[in-house]
Amino acid sequence: MNITLDSKDGVTLLKLREERLDAHNSQEFKDYLLRLLESGPKALVLDLSDVRFVDSSGLGALLSGHKNAGLREGRLALSGVQARVQSMFELTRLHRVFEIHPTVEDALAFGTGGTPHEPKPD
């Protein structure tokens, strides 16, 4: 799995350099996120701009990262979500769970407060 790691302003930046996040690689990505969170960083921004397809198991991996960041009083923000992938979040109503920003810069500007994003009410 091709992931690049960087940091800026105390935030860990991940870029998933895969076209697809699906049942073939989602478990590997879920394990990677968990190991990363266990190693210390609390504020993560995940750049999904290279990812043009996400299935239900990919969403599950992202949810696992979101919940594990929250358990550690951290946050997992998403950025660069492509339009069709965004529609997948909306189909499953998960756009109300995740903190989603247009760009990495927007996610960084939003803050590094470490407050997990709670689901919005209907």
Binding site: E19, R20, D22, A23, H24, F53, D55, S56, S57, L59, G60, A61, L63, S64, K67, R84, S87, M88, L91, T92, R93, L94, R96, V97, P119
Partner: protein, 139 residues
Amino acid sequence: MSRNRISLEIEIPTQTRYLGLIGNIGEQLARDLSEYTGDHDILAYNLNLVLTEALSNVIKYADCDSQVLRVCIHVEGDSLSIQVHDQGQGFDFDHLPSTEPEVLAERGRGIFIIRQLMDSVDYHKTQSGNVLEMKKKLE
């Protein structure tokens, strides 16, 4: 103008590494449906998604290691039919979660998504195994 009439039949090993291949074939098919008047990009993603979720579920539940899966995609006019044939023991489709799961649940959305995007979904036994069959009217 002649009606869209396309039939594809593809056999793949029962491995998730082929999900992308089949998904991409579905996308390309959706983009080539000249009669379809809706958004081809949306149809392409949805067809990719339905194929990916269907194959994932069969690989996961049908207990068919070392067998092949046969995927049939048929379009005639505005009717789309997708069949995924497996040679495994099969599974109790009716006991898979088909309603929307808890919002923070990490699993159990696959069949729900297929049901959201297709008009009908059915899994039943055949002479040589089982088939997951999905249909949709393209409009």
